[in-house]
């Protein structure tokens, strides 16, 4: 589901600045629909980032991350042409993967 993800990685000095946007409803399980029925929890709960295949960031998310999640992070030691990868999964097991080349 690469089209659900937008990524950008740019050099800022000697640090790679990564910005990631994932399309996801991030339903908390506490909201009700217009028929007063609870909308079940549906949210991305694990996200791993890699630089050239090596893990740099491992994260666990709860329902408190905003809808269509944004995450920005920085990696020291990267250079233009390196590959930044994202592997995310939601609580129903759907996976979202993305990759971008450092500009």
């Amino acid at each position: 589901m690469a089209d659900a993800m937008k990524m950008r990685a740019t050099m800022e000095g000697n640090v790679v600045d990564v910005k990631v946007l994932i399309q996801h409803p991030m339903d908390t399980g506490l909201m009700k629909d217009k028929n007063d029925k609870l909308i079940p929890a549906f949210f991305i709960n694990q996200v791993v980032a890699t630089l050239n295949g090596k893990t740099v960031l491992e994260s666990q998310w709860g329902v408190g991350i905003a809808k269509n999640p944004f995450i920005g992070f920085r990696i020291k030691g990267g250079k233009p042409g390196d590959k930044v990868g994202i592997n995310a999964v939601d609580n129903l097991g759907t996976k979202y993967d993305g990759e971008v080349v450092v500009a």
Binding site: A49, L51, T55, V56, E58, I65, F70, G77
Partner: protein, 156 residues
């Protein structure tokens, strides 16, 4: 009878799609996700308990954790938060919103050159303390700031 048939067809369809997905390599079971999701921490309703369950108990206040967030957030559904730890040897960082129904927002573990810096957007049910905790050199540190929320964003 009709309903049973419908349910059966639906299930058959779902299983079929999943099998194809595995066969084509779309799903690689257990490839990237090493740790199990910390259910105990994320479902805790009390912020102190959430912090403890996430491994950030007994954290010392530190001004070396810098939290950037708006003083007033008009829309609690989307509150930008950026946190940086200037404590040497920081290995992980977590974000909590003390007044949310589920206070723990997320936990981040840094390795192989990742800087102790995270920028994200969170949900806030109401005006609350936003707390960031970090692990560094086997110790826990924390810092916090208040964000006033005009319209809550957790549907609560």
């Amino acid at each position: 009878m009709n309903q049973l048939r419908r349910a059966f067809l639906k299930n058959a369809g779902a299983v079929g799609t999943f099998a194809i997905a595995i066969a084509t390599g779309l799903f690689k079971p257990g490839a990237a996700f090493a740790a199990a999701w910390n259910n105990l921490a994320f479902t805790a309703k009390d912020p102190a308990e959430a912090m403890k369950n996430a491994g950030y108990g007994g954290a010392t206040e530190s001004s070396d954790i810098v939290i950037k967030a708006p003083d007033i957030a008009e829309n609690g559904a989307v509150v930008p938060v950026t946190a940086t730890s200037n404590i040497p040897g920081t290995t992980s960082m977590a974000i909590f919103v003390e007044k949310n129904p589920a206070p723990m927002i997320a936990d981040f573990e840094f390795s192989n050159g990742a800087e102790p810096y995270i920028s994200t957007r969170i949900k806030m049910a109401k005006t609350s303390i936003v707390r960031v905790t970090v692990k560094a050199g086997g110790k826990n540190y924390t810092s916090s700031r208040e964000v006033k929320v005009t319209i809550g964003g957790c549907g609560g």
